[in-house]
Symmetry: C2
């Protein structure tokens, strides 16, 4: 069966199915659609309807590519596929514990519909060991089939960076791993069809670990800078000035303080920590990094509250609520966390973020002049930079200040910074 | 008086005194001696005698430069100086608490001998606030003089990297800060005489903080990789292979696991942590990074012990005991820590390190063939790489293994790795 699969890849007669048409799945489907018949499945009917009518709310692929993909909300359509790739989210629950249910439920359903002779690949971020301890046993159980005999498995972690125009699906290096050496080679050939640089390993756990430590490292490093920022605050010195000085050393790594959320950096460390604790090792560094970053919105809230003093009925404008600049993704956004903290403490707070549309939040279309005691620039969208410092100042009351978290307008008289 | 100082700098008639002729002081004295009359003081009589006879055991400056410096073990010689620069070590005590006594005692003595109209500059790493809270008050008290009136103060953190041939005193960027704006400018002009790139700040605390976070950041990052290595060990996968995969991501920061000691990275985090705790903030990330790194020798010991099993009378060879490769510095070396752990547990352990000479340690000149059950390559000296894998294998008994901590001979059958 492997030779058939190999032949189909080489002569472009393969059918690929992608499960999950989000930030990862859609661009990947787009890439595969250039070579193979490609089915893009999502259980979200609205999303599929939009994609079918050539509208991608994430603006991640162009029209020409959209038209090539066969979009479906019907799980049975995946029966046609030789390869099924899972690009579903692996979030955390309210207690910051890994929540694999979206991925596992989907794998379960598809295993039941029949996966004989198919190659299943997971791109979602999971903890090291999850493929071999959770996913493969689940597939075997639900399909009543045997790995490396009746079906095959691979893990190839996604490295999509939403909003990044430089690093995209085509020019990044992709890690591939498989349930045995032969299948690893097949997966290598498969991805090589669309991506130039592929690195392979025969050990799935290595690939799982490699993916998860990338985001943990970023989390720790921003956490460290946030910790430095907390100390700078107590020393009454500017974090940004300190970082400017330190950055003149040849090996200083430039990170900025700020709110660390999102569906990767704010999530992945919990997956690795959970696994590590299960193995009997308390990952102090990973957890302390996450802890500092989780608490950072509270630190910012406290600084603003202290600066506001005992004045009552303060009106606050929160500019930017996405998890990072220039994207419309609000998953696990710490700017929203900051919003909620102010709401809980009965402050009047408006949100201004032209990049997103959410009805559930008290979001204003355009802030009015002379309304606010505090303007928090939480996310450094380019659109705010273009708006300019003076125009933002006009939104303030007579006595107002700006909390410019990302230092997008440095050294301004009305601003305070980290 | 400041105009006189400025004039002396500009027309090269200044006398500069350096206190501490170590890894930092001597190269700096060398640099200044090209422009000014330079006195190099050290309380270590042997060191001064050696330097006077043109021998520098650290090989940090050449003969031509050595001859230009006036070396002295007499504190009174510093009375001749317009500028006195302190390049003394600021280590930690056995409880990992900052020990400023070497620096403070020296400052005290020199303050008593008379510092009227002088500019005192500290290059040693100290915690943010130490200049203004400890050092300046001490100078004022002991000299009975007033800062910015009778004497001046500056802080300009050293960025010497022992053994680094690329980044040296002349081509690095140097941070300067002073007790007021004018003196900051004077210090700027002073260092500009010998160093091309200078960055200044009028806030001493910013300069102190900038310096200390550089090494803290490195400590955290290696600590993180060591934590990952600890988890990889439990997962039974190779840390180096995982890092190789992760390193293919464009923004992964390449650090290696290993023993983190030395007089900077293993020390500075304790200075910042102590200050932070005094200010009421528990620096979780900094302390957890240090904790993982402090415990790493024990982790390595345990792995070796487990692999050795219950065999008794094991003979171990420890190759390399300096705090990093290709240097002869053993201050706060974690390879020595590893040696001590084995000794405490009654293992027979020999040290082989051609780069150092210490009588107090059981160090052998050249290891004999067929002697060892375990060969630990703790430090990746080039000399070991040149020696080659096969020659090192010859040192082993019939049943032996190599613990190649720094992965200098990858993928070898007799080796185990992190």
């Amino acid at each position: 069966m492997l030779t058939i699969l190999k032949k189909k890849i080489l002569n472009n007669s393969l059918t690929v199915g992608l499960v999950g048409m989000g930030y990862v799945g859609l661009p990947l489907a787009g890439a595969f659609s250039k070579k193979f018949k490609t089915i893009g499945y999502d259980h979200d009917k609205k999303r599929i309807t939009e994609l079918k009518s050539n509208f991608d709310k994430n603006h991640s692929v162009n029209l020409k590519i959209l038209k090539k993909i066969y979009f479906s909300k019907n799980l049975n359509d995946l029966k046609l596929c030789d390869v099924i790739i899972f690009t579903l989210p692996t979030p955390i629950n309210k207690k910051n514990k890994p929540n694999l249910s979206i991925l596992l439920n989907s794998i379960k359903k598809i295993s039941i519909t029949g996966i004989k002779n198919k190659l299943l690949i997971v791109e979602s971020t999971i903890a090291p060991g999850d493929s071999e301890e959770l996913i493969i046993p689940l597939i075997e159980q639900k399909s009543n089939l045997k790995i490396n005999q009746d079906f095959y498995y691979g893990f190839s972690p996604e490295r999509i960076n939403p909003g990044d125009k430089k690093n995209n699906i085509y020019n990044i290096t992709k890690i591939v791993s498989g349930s045995n050496k032969n299948i690893t080679n097949i997966i290598y050939i498969l991805y090589k069809k669309i991506i130039k640089n592929i690195i392979k390993t025969n050990t799935i756990k290595e690939a799982e670990m490699a993916k998860i430590i990338e985001n943990c490292q970023r989390d720790i490093n921003i956490g460290f800078i946030n910790e430095i920022s907390n100390i700078c605050h107590l020393l009454n010195i500017s974090t940004h000035k300190v970082l400017k000085l330190a950055s003149t050393k040849w090996n200083f790594i430039k990170f900025k303080p700020g709110l660390v959320g999102g569906h990767c950096i704010g999530v992945d460390p919990y997956y690795l920590a959970e696994k590590s604790i299960k193995l009997g090792y308390n990952p102090k560094i990973i957890l302390s990094g996450r802890n500092v970053n989780e608490n950072f919105p509270y630190k910012i809230f406290k600084k603003i509250k202290k600066k506001l003093g005992t004045k009552i009925k303060k009106r606050i404008l929160l500019m930017g609520i996405t998890y990072k600049e220039n994207c419309n993704d609000i998953r696990n956004s710490k700017a929203i966390k900051l919003y909620k903290i102010f709401k809980e403490k009965n402050f009047i707070i408006d949100i201004y973020d032209p990049l997103i549309e959410i009805k559930s939040l008290k979001k204003i279309k355009k802030p009015k002049k002379f309304q606010y005691d505090v303007i928090i620039i939480a996310v450094g969208h380019d659109i705010f930079k273009k708006m300019g410092y003076n125009k933002i100042c006009q939104l303030g009351k007579k006595e107002f200040f700006i909390y410019d978290i990302q230092n997008i307008f440095p050294n301004k008289p009305r601003s305070i910074y980290l």
